[in-house]
């Protein structure tokens, strides 16, 4: 059984999806600052659904989600989306770039949307492309990229905004063994150097072994123990979250 982080940046408690719990049944996940965690589960174990609920793409039927001590489940949808957009980097399994733009423009897009100028955003995106060793594709169109390059470019795009949490679905899929190892090393080093909580979803035990801790997911349940939500945030949950969203109370209550 995986032990939760003492001071989790991301703390999911008892997530159920959908209401009958047929995909996720009370999944817990707590990830601390600078921690790189692998969520290991077989096909159809609920990995992509868990990722979807953690990054706001899917709304859990019940459970609570905390980021840096803020109860995301209790926030109004607009504010919650803003937190997800600014603080979370996401690499979906079917990652896509805009084929009309170059790779550098694609990677720089989140920064441009955050208000950075084109030149500065491109400069920052090049740093990430160099880090993932795909800088020679910077000015290539994103239309004809091979899957390994596409995946690393999408990882660079997820990380360019310096997120607090990175959620990556099979980030090492399609990569050759050497490249996969190098990419895993980069993800681990980002966790340490940037304090990013890295969560990798995979069905491959070899991929999971690259990361600091493994949480097993089977039939919608994780083997992780729930971490208590911060006590200071509990009254906010009681005042706004539960009654309005119909979510059950966290285990700390």
């Amino acid at each position: 059984m995986s032990l939760p982080s003492d001071n989790p940046v991301l703390n999911a408690v008892g997530l159920n999806y959908p209401a009958d719990g047929s995909v996720l049944r009370g999944a817990h996940l707590a990830v601390g600052e600078g921690e790189a965690v692998a969520v290991l589960g077989a096909a159809a174990a609920g990995k992509s659904t868990l990722l979807g609920t953690l990054c706001g793409m899917l709304e859990p039927a019940s459970g609570s989600l905390w980021a840096n001590g803020r109860p995301l489940h209790a926030l109004p949808p607009d504010q919650r989306d803003e937190v997800f957009r600014r603080r979370f980097g996401v690499l979906p399994q079917d990652c896509r770039l805009l084929p009309e733009l170059t790779v550098a423009e694609n990677v720089a897009l989140p920064l441009r949307l955050a208000g950075m100028t084109l030149n500065r955003a491109k400069e920052r995106s090049r740093i990430w492309l160099e880090r993932f060793e795909i800088e020679e594709y910077a000015e290539s169109s994103a239309a004809g990229l091979t899957k390994p390059v596409l995946r690393r470019a999408a990882l660079a795009r997820a990380l360019v905004g310096d997120p607090v949490v990175l959620l990556a679905d099979e980030p090492l899929a399609d990569l050759a063994a050497q490249t996969a190892e190098a990419t895993a090393r980069i993800l681990r080093s980002i966790a340490v150097s940037h304090g990013t909580a890295v969560v990798v979803f995979t069905r491959d035990p070899i991929t999971a072994a690259y990361f600091n801790r493994t949480v097993k997911l089977a039939e919608g349940r994780t083997d992780a123990q729930p971490a208590s939500p911060p006590p200071a945030a509990v009254p906010l949950l009681a005042a706004t979250g539960d009654a309005r969203l119909g979510l059950p109370l966290g285990p700390g209550r």
Binding site: D81, A114, A143, G161
Partner: protein, 208 residues
């Protein structure tokens, strides 16, 4: 640069998102490859063709059944290419919107940004078609024999050709977007599967 300072810098918007979204919408307009170019040409050409009967129908003061039937028959040749190219255009729009959402653009903004080409190409085609019929309806009306079904609509027009042309453009752009929807694509694929199954059944050897 420390992690926290970088985060603060990224979080502080220096310019609005609107110029970036407009720039993206602009970048989505040119065709990406030959297939894309073919789709855009077909959708524009189909809308140009369909704009003729639509504008005539909207401008007519009197619409006998035979005239309506003639206008429908006139529209028929362009319908398959219109539907097919609208579906392809819709598929591309949905792919673009998905890629935009992955780049942390919210659903509404992604939908609005990705729709640029779905509006522009049908609009250009429709404008060309309506301009042509608006300019040529008088000589056409004179050339048509008095008993021709379409002469009623063309000769007895309300005179508000500009209004009819504007409505026709809006109607064709709207209908192209509707035909490009996921449901329309599903319907097309279902029809295609059904016809393929019927073809196979016909080709099956008959028992002696």
């Amino acid at each position: 640069m420390s992690a926290e300072s970088a985060r603060t810098e990224a979080a502080a918007p220096k310019a609005g998102r609107l110029p970036v979204l407009l720039w993206l919408a602009w970048r989505f307009l040119p065709p990406l490859d030959r297939r894309d170019q073919r789709t855009l040409t077909w959708v524009a050409a189909s809308c140009a063709y369909l704009a003729v009967p639509t504008t005539v129908g909207l401008a007519a003061t009197r619409m006998p059944a035979i005239t309506l039937l003639s206008l429908l028959c006139l529209a028929v040749p362009a319908l398959p290419s219109w539907w097919l190219s609208a579906i392809r255009l819709g598929d591309r729009r949905r792919e673009t919107a998905l890629a935009l959402r992955q780049a942390r653009i919210n659903t509404r903004a992604a939908a609005a940004t990705s729709i640029s080409r779905q509006i522009l190409y049908p609009a250009v085609g429709s404008i060309v078609g309506t301009a042509l019929i608006s300019a040529l309806h008088r000589p056409l009306g004179r050339a048509l024999p008095a008993g021709a079904p379409l002469s009623v609509a063309i000769k007895e027009s309300s005179g508000h050709w500009l209004v009819a042309a504007s409505i026709a453009v809006l109607l064709l752009v709207g209908l192209t977007a509707a035909l490009g929807s996921a449901r329309s694509a599903e319907l097309y694929r279902w029809i295609k599967k059904l016809t393929a199954r019927l073809d196979r059944r016909e080709a099956a050897p008959q028992p002696q």
